[in-house]
Symmetry: C3
Subunit: 306 residues, 3 copies
C-alpha cells in the first residue's frame, strides 16, 4: 500500500495514513540523531532535485535518507535553473528515474510534482511546488503538535500572521480540520485566510477569525506563527504597523495557556524575537528537527513498504 | 591492465577492450538499479570535478559510484568556475589526487583530461573536454545498440542532424567503424560530418551521405538523432527550414525497419516530438539510464582491475 | 575530554593537545588514502556549511569524513550566500544542529565559528572565519613539518611573502612559538608581520625579521611561502617589484640546507614556479593531502572521544 507510492499532496492521505506516518516517525525518532542501526535503505539512492532554494528542506531530506543508510545525489537551485533551461521537467524526471530509487522534487510551479509523478516509475515526493503543496511539511507540523502538545484532538490551534499567501497554513489547517479541534485565524484584514479554504474547513471544525491575538490567546494550545512579508504591502508604513502587531513577545505568551507551544515554519524575521527562543513554549527549532524522523518514516514507507 | 588506467579517449581502447567494458556493464545491469550486493568500492572515493554543467553525466557517474558502494565528492560548474580562476587545473588535480581514488573530469577545454591524467596518480576519467572526447558516452551508446538492437556487426547505423559540431557523433561513428557495419550520415549541407572524419571512417566501413532521411530510412537499424542548434545559423528562417526537415515523427518511423531503434544523447528539443516517447523504437531514455551500468563497469575496472 | 569539543581557535589547544592530534593523524595516515577498515563514524553525519568558497578545505573535510565512514551534507558558497540572506547564522546553526553530528563552518566574518559553537549542541569545527582562525590548517601545517622535516623542536622556520594579512601565517607562527624553534619573517616593508603578533611570539622564541631571503636561507629548515596579492598594492609596478623578489627558484633552494622543505597553503600563483614542483624540497601538495589525516583525527576525536 505504501510501497512505491507518490507523496504529492497531503489530500492524498487520509487521517489513518497521516497517523501511520506519525507513528512510524515516532519510532524513527531515536535513530534520527544517531542513525538507524540496520541501515534499511543502504541499497537505495534518493535524488533531491531542487529547482528553487530551500536549504532546510533539502538538508533534512538528505539527513533522513542518510540516517537510513541511503545515498543522495541531485542538484540545488542554481544548477536547477540551468537544468530547466536545457530540457523539460518531464525529460529530466525520466532521466533521473534511471539514476535513483526515489525523487524528492522542489519546484516553483504548482503541479510540478504531480507531473513528475506521472513520468517517474520511482516514487516522487513533493518537497514544495510553488503555491501548491508541501505534504511532508504538513506532516512534520502535525507530528510536532502531537509530540510536543499531546493528542491533536481537543486542541485549540491558532494561525497568526500571513494567512493569505502561506502555503504552509493552507495545507496544515485543512489537514488539521480532519481532527476534532478548534481553529483560530489571526491576521490583518489584508492577509486573511482565503474564503474558499475557510469555507471548506468550517464544514468540519469550529473556526474563529479575528485581527486580535490578545482576544484569543487564552483559547489556544498551539500558536502557529508565520512571517509577514514586506513585499505584500505597497506601503512600507502600512507593513510596519501590521507586522508590529503580531510580534510574539514573552509578555503575550505569559498570558497564554500553561502548555501553550509556539511553532513557525522558519525562517523567521522579527515576528518571534530571540528572547522567546529559550522559553519552554518555543518549539520551532524542535519542529525543524522533526523534519528528519518524519521524512525517514516516509522514505522508509515508500521504499520498503509497511 | 585495467587497474589505475586513465580513460581519456575512446581511441585508447581497442575493440576487444570496448567489448570487455560492455560485457562487464551487462553484468552490472541488474545492480544498476538496486545496488551491487558486495559494494566492491565501499572503501573508495570518486571525485567528480565539473568545470561546466552536465547534470546528466554528473548524476549518472555519481549513481554508478554509489551503486558500487563508493562515496562521491567534488564540485559543479558554478563552483568550478571560481576554482579555475583561483589556480591552474594541474594544481587542482594534484590536490584532489590526495582526496580521492579516481577523478571524473568535465572541462570546457579540449585536452584538459589528458593534462589531468599526467598530473594525477589516481586514474582520470574524461567526462567530456570541450570539442574533444567523452569516451564513456561513446561506450554507453555502443552498449545501447548492443543491448537494444543486438550484435553491432551487420547493422545499418544512421546519424541525423548536426554532424558537424557534435562531439558525440564524431567519437561514436569512429568507434563504430571498428565494427562490421554500414554508416549513414544524414544532415543539411551546412552541418555535414567533417571531411577528415568521413575519410578516416571510409577506410574501414561503407558510408553513405545524404540530405534526405526518407531515402535511407529503410536501410537503417539504429537512428542516432542529434539536436540542431539555433546558434549555428546566422539566419533564423534558415534554421527553421533545416530543423523542420529532421523532426522524427511516428509516420517516418512506421516506414522504417521493424526493429529500428531511435537514440539521442539528450537533451532534445523539438527534433523528437513527445508522441514518439512511448513507441517501441524510442530508446533514448533507456540509453541515458545505461550510463549507470557502463560507468559502474569502468569504475570497477580501473579501481579494482579485472 | 575531546568528545563533543568545539575546535574554534588554535589557541584553545595546548601543545600536548596539538601533539595528540598529530599523533592520531599519523595513525590515520594509512587510512587517509584507502578508508578506515572499521568505518568508525559510519553512523555520523558531518555538515559542511561553507558561506564562502574554499574548495580545498571543503573537499578535504569531506574526504576525511568519508574515509571514516561518515556521511556528508551541507552547502557551498553560492547557496550559502542565499542562506545568509534568509536568516541569521544562529538560526541556521540551530536548525542544522538537528540534522548532523558535527558542523564544519567556513564564514567570512571573524567570530562566526565561536558564535556557532554557542548555539550548536553538536561540536563545531572552524574551517576559517575571515581574518580570524582556521585551526585545522594550522595543525596540518605542523603535521607537515613534523612528518616531512622531523621533530619540530630545534628547527629554523621561515615565513616569506605577505606576512601582514595572511591568517595562516599568524596562527601558525603563534602555534609554532610554543615549540623550541627559531622564526624568520621575510617580507617587504609593506607586508611585515603585525607588531602585536611579533611581540607576543618574541616572548617565547627568537625571531629575526628581514627583507632579504638570501640572507637567512641557510638558517632555515622549513620555508613557508605565501602569496603576495596584487590587491594589496595601489601601484602595480610596486607590486611587480616586490613579488618578483620572493619567487622561490631552484637556484635559491640549492643554496639552502640539505633537508630544507618548502610549504605553501595554496593556491599559489607565481611565487613558486612549476619547475620547483618535482624537487625533493617541494612539500606543498603533500601538505594539502595531509589535510585528510589531520581532519580525520579531529573528527574522530570530537565524535568518538579518546
Amino acid at each position: 500500500m505504501w510501497l512505491n507510492r507518490d507523496i504529492v499532496s497531503i489530500s492524498d492521505l487520509n487521517v489513518e495514513e497521516i497517523m501511520e506516518v506519525i507513528d512510524r516517525a515516532n519510532k524513527m525518532l531515536p535513530y534520527s540523531s544517531s542513525g538507524h542501526p540496520e541501515k534499511p535503505l543502504s541499497d537505495k539512492i534518493v535524488a533531491t532535485l531542487f529547482y528553487e532554494p530551500s536549504t532546510r528542506t533539502r538538508l533534512s531530506f538528505e539527513a533522513a535518507a542518510m540516517r537510513l543508510g541511503a545515498r543522495v545525489l541531485g542538484f540545488g537551485a542554481l544548477e536547477g535553473t540551468s537544468v530547466s533551461k536545457g530540457e523539460t521537467l518531464s525529460d529530466t524526471i525520466r532521466i533521473v528515474n534511471g539514476y535513483s530509487d526515489a525523487i524528492v522534487l522542489r519546484h516553483p510551479s504548482e503541479g510540478a510534482a504531480r507531473l513528475a509523478s506521472e513520468f517517474a516509475d520511482v516514487p516522487v515526493i513533493n518537497a514544495g511546488d510553488g503555491a501548491g503543496q508541501h505534504p511532508t511539511q504538513t506532516i512534520l507540523d502535525i507530528f510536532t503538535i502531537w509530540k510536543e502538545s499531546g493528542p491533536v484532538s481537543g486542541k485549540g490551534i491558532g494561525f497568526v500572521g500571513d494567512l493569505k499567501y502561506g502555503r504552509t497554513v493552507h495545507s496544515l489547517s485543512k489537514a488539521l480540520s480532519l481532527f476534532d479541534i478548534s481553529l483560530y485565524f489571526i491576521s490583518p484584514e489584508e492577509l486573511k485566510i482565503p474564503k474558499h479554504i475557510k469555507k471548506d474547513i468550517e464544514k468540519r471544525v469550529p473556526v474563529k477569525e479575528t485581527k486580535n491575538l490578545d482576544e484569543v490567546i487564552e483559547d489556544i494550545d498551539v500558536l502557529y506563527v508565520t512571517r509577514i512579508q514586506k513585499e505584500r504591502f505597497p506601503d512600507l508604513e502600512e507593513y510596519k504597523k501590521v507586522a508590529g502587531i503580531y510580534v510574539i513577545r514573552p509578555s503575550l505568551l505569559s498570558r497564554g495557556r500553561k502548555n501553550l507551544i509556539v511553532m513557525h515554519p522558519l525562517p523567521r524575521v522579527d515576528e518571534i524575537p530571540s528572547e522567546v527562543d529559550n522559553l519552554p513554549q518555543a518549539k520551532y527549532f524542535k519542529q525543524a528537527s522533526y523534519g528528519v524522523p518524519v521524512r525517514m518514516a516516509i522514505l522508509d514507507l515508500i521504499l520498503r513498504g509497511d
